[in-house]
Subunit: 203 residues, 2 copies
Amino acid sequence: MVRDVSTEQKIKEAAKRVFQKKGFGLTRTRDIAKEAGINLALLNYYYRSKENLFEIVMQESIEEMFSYLEHIMNNKQTTLTEKIDAGVLRYIEGMSKNSNLPLFLFSELQANPQHLFDRVKIPEGFIQDTYMFKQINAQINKEKLNFTAIHFFINLVSMSIFPIIGQPFIKYVTKMDEKSFADFIEQRKTLVPIWLKSMLKLV
Amino acid sequence: MVRDVSTEQKIKEAAKRVFQKKGFGLTRTRDIAKEAGINLALLNYYYRSKENLFEIVMQESIEEMFSYLEHIMNNKQTTLTEKIDAGVLRYIEGMSKNSNLPLFLFSELQANPQHLFDRVKIPEGFIQDTYMFKQINAQINKEKLNFTAIHFFINLVSMSIFPIIGQPFIKYVTKMDEKSFADFIEQRKTLVPIWLKSMLKLV
DNA sequence: GTCTATAGACTGATAGAC
DNA sequence: GTCTATCAGTCTATAGAC
């Protein structure tokens, strides 16, 4: 009795889409089954419970979020300037493609921060150990700037992610349509790195 | 038979707390009744349905979010520099006090952006009509900067709000404790305005 | 206005046929 | 492995007593 990998996978991917879109509370296991094109009973056959399936989706979502950073931040071959360019671009494009991910994570983690500690393998405080952090600190010391590397890092992530998270709100107050908003995001791919480099006096 | 205003108010405030913390999907009307110290039937007596109560909470939450901006942005007596200082401070302090509000709004609006149009009185595109926007545009023209006022405004809000929204995530990856994080936010009250003024070459 | 009790619908999970 | 049918529990909403 070998488990059908493709069905198991199909259910998990459907679950990821539905959970990320609606959140745990509004998601119905029937919706996931329908989205996966299978029967409700099969979901429990493979994953035992809604909660267990959610935990798995949560873990993979957190790892996906980190994956946008890890490789760029620990590359010893690139300059800080190159890392800023690549990091902003990767974040904006990644979040645009999967715009439900960040809000899903932040919401569910606000309700239950324990998820971060339960299953995820990323070590606490891992940011400070990255190569990029050393580069930022070197630049801060060289220019005698009055803020820490964490502030800079948060600025990078804020300015890249926030416009995606606040999309409906921003569209409303600025009266941008779909096309204008896409242009707006496109512009930020070059603008955000410029502002960030200026903060570090890299230009 | 005059409606008991204090009970009606008590229920609405309890609903606001519970909805903002758990979201619509995870909120149980029993939780709201318990939080308000009344019986479940009384909730329906005053507000007819969970959905109707939610709509009211949603409307007031959106208006609360805007209230942080309106007065500052339309003040004709203050300079742009003063508006940046006041705006950042007000946003950071407001969101810290009520840290569930922004995530609640963004999540629910992602699920159903229609809420913005349904009941809220704030006009679409209202940002562009504020006095602060005219001041930003004047400065952009004067210094011949290559971005729009909307980008600047989004940067202000991003850097102020995002650290609150991403709090659990940030605490984890940086290994900050409660005290360190509070200091971190405190520092941003002065740092964020400095970065923003630098973007507009106001210093 | 406020309560208790309960109707009626929905949801997660399982039993059992194939 | 996959399905249909159904159970047991939970949830919103209301009926009816006071």
